[in-house]
């Protein structure tokens, strides 16, 4: 009896995380779908053959005759997309915003490159399973807080544990660039903004930290210095530096910082005013993971639709742009990532280009494009089939989703509750 009660409690209190799909053993053929490759092109009436977790062949279905496959999925009239990628997210690091005990997103201290998000990533988070049915299949799990928040890792969203979820471990460090101005007062009585008097000091601290990290890496030391250990890999380009900054001056300074330190790979996260210095970004090969699209303008005088147009402004200028959604309720909003791209398309971007903002562009920015981000032969079969346009919530209805060829569950705590109560009312 006791055991029974315990089990019952488990099912009602803990989220019934869906069982991760097992490794692909049977070959899959998807026929007739309209494939959005993720590189700007579309294959009408496509043929996709999937073996051992990879796309064995993708092409025009009218030109090819498929071999025999174990599973054949008819996708005619449907849309096929590469799995969407959610960069700079805290998915799996916090479960309920207001409950501190469920919050593992930031650590004490300023310079924390050694803090690794991956080990706190809860692969069984209820928020993870809810993101998948909208097409979000990959994510960069990113810590918050401090000057250097820590090191992120990239995961796929269907795994038994964090270790199994890893696509790219320790892909980069996240640096919150100081603000060039500081504000006095509070919202009701703003005291004015002033140049941040500590700005130089704060940027110098960053420079010093990088200098020391470099010196440390070049020295033979007997005792390990954990934070500097966390900086290893930046010089070789194994680890990217993600600089979180929105302001114009900050972005320019961040680019100067890149030059000075010969940082191989750098991305601006946020980048609200990056469009004002787009040429500089292009020239220095710096990409942008753009501030949340569904947001209000920062300033009263700005174009009320600037957040919707921002990605286009940058893309038109040649900047490589991905979308992310750091901010209020960011974990539960992760599932709305496709609609951010849709909104960018509404405000002037070509739809396939808008799709790249959450697929190939993000894959390139995160350095996982060899395997993910597009539907191309030889790449991971991480994709999904939607009844209609997946960038539009009206038609984003996903019937099949694969991660590395594994057909994952699209159910969640939420769909289970839906079914349960639907049934309750139907049986009434």
């Amino acid at each position: 009896m006791k055991k029974y009660i315990f089990l019952l409690l488990l099912t009602t209190i803990a989220f019934g995380q869906q069982t991760p799909a097992s490794k692909q053993t049977k070959s899959i053929l998807i026929l007739g779908g309209r494939a959005h490759v993720g590189n700007g092109t579309v294959i009408e009436n496509s043929l996709i053959s999937i073996k051992d977790g990879k796309i064995a062949i993708i092409g025009d279905g009218t030109l090819m005759k498929p071999a025999k496959h174990d599973i054949v999925i008819n996708a005619s009239g449907k849309e096929i997309y590469p799995g969407f990628i959610a960069p700079n997210t805290t998915l799996g690091l916090v479960e309920i915003d207001a409950v501190k005990a469920t919050d593992d997103e930031s650590e004490l201290g300023e310079m924390n490159p050694h803090i690794r998000s991956i080990i706190a990533y809860n692969a069984e988070s209820g928020l993870v399973e809810v993101a998948r049915p909208n097409g979000v299949l990959l994510a960069q799990i990113t810590p918050r807080g401090g000057r250097i928040s820590g090191t992120s890792s990239i995961v796929q969203l269907d795994a038994w544990n964090w270790e199994d979820a890893i696509i790219k471990e320790n892909d980069g460090i996240h640096l919150n660039w100081p603000r060039s101005y500081s504000r006095a007062g509070w919202w009701a009585e703003p005291g004015g903004i002033q140049p941040n008097k500590k700005y130089d000091e704060q940027t110098t601290e960053i420079q010093d930290f990088f200098n020391n990290a470099k010196a440390y890496a070049a020295s033979k030391v007997s005792v390990k210095d954990i934070p500097y250990e966390g900086m290893k890999g930046i010089e070789s380009g194994d680890k990217q530096v993600f600089i979180h900054a929105d302001g114009e001056k900050e972005i320019i300074d961040a680019i100067l910082f890149k030059k000075k330190n010969n940082i191989k790979k750098m991305t601006i996260v946020g980048g609200y005013y990056a469009y004002k210095n787009a040429a500089l970004l292009v020239e220095n090969n710096v990409s942008v993971l753009l501030r949340r699209v569904h947001d209000l303008p920062i300033l009263e005088d700005e174009d009320v639709n600037l957040p919707f147009k921002n990605a286009k402004l940058l893309t038109d200028a040649g900047v490589l742009v991905g979308l992310q959604n750091e901010g209020d309720m960011e974990r539960m909003q992760a599932r709305n990532l496709p609609f951010y791209a849709g909104t960018c398309a509404a405000w002037g971007m070509d739809r396939e280009k808008a799709l790249q903002l959450i697929t190939s562009n993000s894959a390139k920015i995160l350095g996982i494009d060899a395997n993910y981000g597009t539907l191309e032969t030889g790449k991971s079969a991480t994709l999904f089939i939607s009844d209609g346009d997946a960038l539009d919530m009206k038609t984003n209805k996903i019937s099949t989703a694969l991660i590395d060829g594994r057909q994952i569950s699209l159910e969640s705590h939420q769909t289970e509750l839906y079914e349960r109560y639907k049934e309750k009312f139907e049986n009434k």
Partner: protein, 991 residues
């Protein structure tokens, strides 16, 4: 011993100006007062009566005669004021001068204080009706001097602390007198503010609307107390009743707050004298319509330092415009014949007052009105026209002697007389000793040149083109010169002292060796030419009056040049989402006239209409946001008590919130502005139309049914912030309602049976609910509490109109349908707190399937501009048909708000609140192209680029002006970023 000494001193100071009938122990009594005559002056007897070459005769602090033919008594003291101008001294009716303020501010405790700290007084500490300024005086000579230096002679002092801040006194700035002579009226005014006392931590009121409700309740309670019906003593109410006939002064501040203060006054038949903020010109018509008299401050913002372009970007156009426009405020008030007086209250440095006044006059504020606003008008308001504000016979001898026109920037106030006592600020008729002299002493001859400003003379001594360092000090008639010898090895000086004579200076010199001898400096011929040149230079410096940047409606970016007007509009060839049984009509025309939808059909022609080609576009009813917190001033929650039914958002609608415009850009035409969710019984709601550029009153839909916000769950039981207030559990929440509704019914009985019942705003509102005249929209999450409230309502024979948020509504949708309550929910929000763990995006679909009237709302200024997308999520989650999903944000909220007879669908006869979309409105690709409210286009995407250009142009022009101001050396301030507050249900902050 010490005590005796102290007493002695105390007595002594008093005795200097003891009253006639006081005993005198430090000498003999003296009573003689001489006549004083000030002659040959230009005298402003009043703002409109100016006498030239006139005499002012007074004695014992009172004016005896003023005129051009005054006979001066023999032996009178005569002061020649040739070339000078005399004005009655100024009166400031809004001052804290000389008030001894308490120093013991309470510490911020960790837990809130819900009860008052005093016994025998009102239940709320912020009602300080019993406070009297005259009992807390500390006359400070230094502060008085500062006020006199800018022309003031009389002030009304009060302590600006508390919602009702007690009484003020009228007194003079007479250093010679004591309080017995200074005080003209010890209790002249009663003061109101919207702010809490800084000396009590009692939580209520915690919002602007709370302060407003509290003031109203005090009026009701005062009336009730006067009937003698109270069983207990309330000293605060007694004072309030006793102060009823004093002048009632309301420190309102911002222009919208002035309208709010006036509204309260009108309700209780009180004409407040309203202290404004200097931004009245932004809503000048509304300000004029109050009919009130205003007290206007003269605190103009300093120029923003915009030299750093990155920082400059943060300064909003509205703040830059205000910098340009503020100095025109007085002119505009005067042009509109709005009665007002002036105050120094907002000037951190009193000197700025006179400087700004002169600026206002330069910017077009008529001089005679300026004089009146500082003299006659305040005197009249204080019922002191016979004693103050003019220089007529019998008035107090309170006047200033000015070197010329007081509004001329070079004019100096020489003397400020208060009650016949002379205060010299700047000596009149000082003899000019400037010029070139032959200085001779010790058989040496030097050239001495005295130049510079009269107050700051400079001297230069030279001999054979060698300069001798010289310091000059002149205090008529004494001249002091210290001249450095030309000894290059050691420092040595000649010290000269002497007096001025007709055209020479002479006196004694102490040589470097200590020997004394005499000196004489004889004036050389003056070269007139150089004098004239100086005058010309000055003329060139005449400040230019900038062009006033036009005031827009509202006065910020995206404001309209003129208030938008209704038009006759004909949409041709649209896909029309009627929202009614007609469904979606293709290639259909819609005609809008006089703010209404007048025709729907094919091939409609109307020659007078502005035709809008809507081919390929979709026309829908405007979006109605059932749960919004935009456009609210100073606090969305009155969380100071567990019930706040007495407050109403209608009091605090903020017409100048940029989010109104942003919402229009998202196709929203109406918003139901709700109180937050900090307490089980929240405040009353305001249903507004987003008429950008109109006033709060014009936005509120007056005839819409009235609502109140209730709330359940984590917020009201203070799970995530605060503590110490009942309830702390869902169990307690039910009992809060039991308690209040029980009391409401008792109140109703009492009201019916007892003519001396105590009118209670909160109980009145609760009875409106019971009698189905006011409807509840209740913040709710989990099924247990939802069920509880329905059962409770049923026990009191009413129903809940709407559950808002209602994220577990799907769990008991059948019960909700049975009760008849609607559900206004989020499309997909969850995981932000524990009680939303079971929130599912299928909620809307499930509730609707059981017959619940469903709408989707925002509770968020960002989401509200994408409500079409949120509605579309119902298509995704739960397969709701498109037309029904669209109704989730239009017709259904209209039904929940019971305004569906007017808005919510495209139907002939309904209000023309419509939106033209570029695409199917449920599509992510749809953009609102035109948003129309009451037949008026308030948002037009086509004009967006042009509008942005105007904003950009105005910004750059103003930035150039600001930079010029900085280059001219004017004072600047750090750039300020304008914060637009975004409220949510659970936004709680200190007001």
């Amino acid at each position: 011993m010490r005590l005796i000494k102290f007493l002695f001193l105390f007595c002594f100071t008093i005795a200097v100006q003891a009253q006639d009938y006081f005993p005198k122990n430090d000498g003999v009594k003296q009573s003689f007062k001489n006549h004083v005559a000030i002659t040959n002056a230009t005298i402003y007897v009043s703002s409109t009566q100016k006498l030239e070459k006139a005499t002012l005769l007074f004695k014992d602090g009172k004016i005896l005669e003023v005129g051009t033919k005054v006979s001066i008594p023999k032996n009178a003291t005569i002061i020649d004021a040739t070339g000078k101008t005399i004005y009655a001294s100024f009166i400031d009716v809004f001052s804290e001068f000389g008030i001894q303020k308490p120093t013991d501010r309470p510490e911020r405790g960790s837990s809130a204080q819900y009860d008052s700290s005093r016994e025998g007084y009102y239940w709320n500490d912020h009602i300080k009706t019993d406070y009297n300024a005259f009992e807390n005086l500390n006359y400070e000579n230094k502060s008085a001097e500062k006020l006199r230096a800018i022309g003031f002679g009389t002030v009304l002092s009060h302590f600006n602390d508390g919602v009702i801040a007690g009484t003020g006194l009228l007194w003079t700035l007479n250093d010679e007198g004591n309080n017995a002579t200074r005080i003209l009226n010890n209790k002249i005014s009663q003061h109101f503010t919207f702010s809490r006392s800084k000396f009590s931590r009692q939580s209520y009121p915690s919002s602007l609307m709370g302060s407003m409700a509290l003031i109203r309740q005090v009026y009701h309670d005062g009336k009730w107390y006067a009937t003698g019906a109270s069983k207990t003593k309330d000293l605060a109410l007694e004072s309030f009743n006793a102060n009823k006939n004093l002048i009632q002064i309301f420190n309102a501040g911002d222009k919208l707050n002035s309208l709010r203060a006036n509204k309260i006054g009108k309700e209780f038949g009180v004409n407040y004298l309203i202290k404004g903020d200097g931004n009245e010109f932004e809503k000048i018509n509304e300000i004029k319509n109050t009919g009130a008299t205003y007290i206007i401050p003269l605190d103009f913002p300093d120029a923003y330092d915009v030299s750093d372009p990155y920082l400059a970007q943060q300064v909003s156009l509205s703040d830059m415009k205000f910098w340009n426009q503020a100095p025109f405020n007085l002119k505009i008030l005067a042009d509109n014949n709005i009665p007002f007086v002036l105050t120094t209250y907002d000037n951190k440095d009193a000197k700025d007052f006179l400087q700004n006044l002169r600026k206002a006059v330069l910017y077009g504020f008529p001089k005679e009105k300026a004089i009146a606003a500082l003299t006659e008008t305040p005197a009249k308001l204080m019922n002191q026209s016979n004693t103050l504000g003019s220089l007529k016979k019998g008035a107090l001898a309170n006047f200033i002697i000015v070197s010329g026109d007081i509004f001329d920037k070079d004019s100096k106030i020489h003397e400020n007389w208060v009650q016949g006592n002379r205060n010299i600020l700047d000596k009149m008729n000082v003899e000019d000793i400037r010029g070139e002299y032959n200085l001779v002493f010790d058989n040496k001859s030097f050239d001495l040149k005295i130049s510079g400003e009269l107050e700051k003379l400079e001297a230069k001594t030279s001999k054979d083109s060698i300069d001798y360092g010289t310091k000059l000090n002149y205090s008529e008639p004494w001249v002091n010169l210290v001249v450095k010898t030309n000894d290059s090895i050691k420092s040595a000086y000649y010290r000269l002292t002497g007096t001025k004579n007709l055209n020479y200076l002479e006196g004694k010199v102490v040589l470097e060796n200590g020997q004394e001898t005499s000196w004489k400096a004889t004036k050389k011929e003056v070269t007139e030419k150089s004098k004239d040149k100086k005058k010309e230079d000055k003329k060139d410096e005449e400040p230019k009056v900038p062009i006033m940047v036009p005031v827009t409606f509202p006065n910020l970016a995206y404001g309209n040049e003129n208030k938008p007007k209704q038009e006759t509009l004909l949409f041709k060839n649209a896909t029309v989402w009627t929202g009614e049984k007609e469904g979606i009509l293709k290639e259909t025309d819609v005609l809008i006239e006089n703010g209404k939808i007048v025709r729907i059909g094919k091939n409609i022609s109307a020659t007078n209409a502005k035709k809008i080609d809507a081919t390929g576009k979709h026309l829908t009813a405007g979006i109605i946001d059932e749960h919004s917190h935009i456009a609210i001033s100073n606090g969305v929650n009155e969380g100071g008590q567990n019930s706040s039914a007495e407050v109403t958002i209608e009091d605090v609608v903020n017409s100048d919130d940029i989010n109104i415009y942003r919402n229009l850009a998202g196709g929203v035409t109406s918003s139901n502005l709700l109180h937050g969710s900090a307490n089980p019984i929240g405040g009353r709601a305001a249903f507004i139309k987003l008429k950008w550029g109109y006033s709060p009153d014009e936005m509120i839909v007056k005839d819409a049914p009235k609502y109140i916000k209730f709330a359940l769950g984590e917020n009201v039981k203070q799970s995530n912030w605060g503590s110490g207030r009942f309830p702390q559990s869902r169990m307690g929440v039910e009992q809060v309602y039991e308690d209040y509704f029980t009391r409401a019914l008792e109140y109703k009985k009492e009201k019916a049976s007892n003519s001396k019942y105590r009118y209670d705003i909160e109980m009145e509102v609760l009875n409106e609910i019971i009698s189905k005249k006011r409807f509840i929209t209740c913040h709710s999450y989990v099924q247990s509490e939802i069920n509880m409230l329905m059962k409770l309502a049923e026990r009191y024979n009413f129903k809940i109109q709407t559950f808002t948020h209602i994220l577990e509504g799907y769990k008991l949708a059948d019960k909700m349908a049975e009760h008849g309550v609607g559900g206004s929910t989020f499309a997909d929000w969850w995981a932000y707190k524990y009680e939303v763990n079971d929130a599912i995006p299928y909620n809307a679909a499930l509730m609707q399937s059981q017959g619940v009237m469903v709408s989707i709302n925002s509770d968020d200024a960002e989401m509200s501009r994408r409500l079409n997308q949120e509605a579309a999520k119902a298509v995704k989650y739960g397969n709701v048909p498109e037309e029904q999903a669209w109704n989730f944000v239009t017709l259904n909220p209209a039904k929940l708000l019971q305004v569906d007879n007017k808005v919510g669908s495209i139907k002939v006869g309904k209000d023309a609140d419509v939106v033209l979309w570029s695409d199917n409105p449920l599509s992510i690709y749809a953009k609102a192209e035109k948003t129309i409210v009451d037949g008026t286009i308030f948002y037009d995407l086509e004009k967006e680029t042009a509008t942005l250009d105007v904003i950009q142009k105005q910004r750059s022009e103003l930035i150039n002006n600001l930079l010029e101001a900085k280059n001219k050396g004017l004072k600047t301030q750090a750039p300020k970023k304008k914060e637009v507050k975004h409220y949510h249900c659970d936004t709680v902050e200190e007001f």
